[in-house]
Subunit: 218 residues, 2 copies
Amino acid sequence: MAIPRAARTQRRTRIQEEKEEQILEAALDVFSVSGFRGSTIDQIAEVAGMSKPNLLYYFRTKEAMHRALIDRVLFTWLEPLRAFNAEGNPESEIRGYIRRKLEMARDFPRESRLFANEVLQGAPHIEDELKGPLKELVDEKARVIRAWAKAGKIVKCDPYHLIFSIWSTTQHYADFDVQVRAVLGQGHSGEGRFEDAARFLEQLFVDGLSVRAKQPVS
Amino acid sequence: MAIPRAARTQRRTRIQEEKEEQILEAALDVFSVSGFRGSTIDQIAEVAGMSKPNLLYYFRTKEAMHRALIDRVLFTWLEPLRAFNAEGNPESEIRGYIRRKLEMARDFPRESRLFANEVLQGAPHIEDELKGPLKELVDEKARVIRAWAKAGKIVKCDPYHLIFSIWSTTQHYADFDVQVRAVLGQGHSGEGRFEDAARFLEQLFVDGLSVRAKQPVS
DNA sequence: TGTAATGTTTACCAGTCGGTCAAATTATCC
DNA sequence: GGATAATTTGACCGACTGGTAAACATTACA
């Protein structure tokens, strides 16, 4: 008799690895576009190229598939923030964070949209992750930023809103891609838009928009 | 015999006004949370406090309801950008735009999420609006910003990405509200977070993060 | 007040949804 | 190569989906 996936305590077979991989890949395609409610198992099955009952052999419910996907993607997604380093130079750390986040928006737009969809719809499946691991990580980095401000290495500002603004500006290019392309039109909607965005955001976050002499504080 | 709404050529009755209002209000509630695919007519009917066939008497399809809602909300939604004025002082115009967008995120979060859901899912129902009216409006304002830069009233920067960054940072507080609350925790998730955000964003967009002497250009 | 137009509801439909089951097929390992 | 476990499938289920038909109720207006 078949042993449903959830009951496995032994190590996984090669087929299990491969099929679960295949399913989660397809699930990312579908969930990232339509959100949890708007996606159907049939859609995912079709994208994955297997039958619906076969999907349900590996993940017993739609919920379980979503859960597994979130778990898998969340760790990677927070990598750039984790790399944010207190020892480094504030300006280059912030620059680097923006650049890495922008690269993720360019290279992993589906992952970005998966979370965007989820959070937008009230985060019913990831509330715990937001209030737990995410909050703790942000709290830690907020302390770093606050210390920089206190030491005069950076202007005094609210570290939480600083992080929010980096998240929003960078993820915008993944989540609102259609809008960005529509507004930029044929001319600038090629891959060059990420270069332009990077240039603009670095300028914004470092210097702001005011015209003023670049003169280091005494 | 009843005349379905779509066929009306005469002016609307009082009941039509009221019921359509009631329905669109409920539809905004539902669509803004679950997106088009994820929402059901039954949900909307329940929120509106009327029977499903009664909804369908006023809007013949789910699609028509969504369309009517988008049309109604889009105009208002672009108001702040339309108010952006070439004659004004660049710094205060930008400040004002940020403030107005932030007020909209605070006062009309459902409208923000409605669009966010739609764009996130590939904008299948509003592609024309994005490529038409929206693009034209942004093009116009981009020219204004570029003129400011050329006149030295503002730093040289890509006007499109400037507008994107204002959109994303402000709308973030509506679209990702759950995340913002989760990260800020009990302490700062009250209404005060909008004040904090406004303060931070004005600082960011005007001065950036670098520590440097505030010295107007000669 | 009567009546025609407008508005509302109950019952219903065909298609889709998430998920089950048992039978059939394939891989594994002695 | 055969027994056993793992994998895959087609048929199916009840609940829900968007939408319809027609009877019933209410309103507007002469």
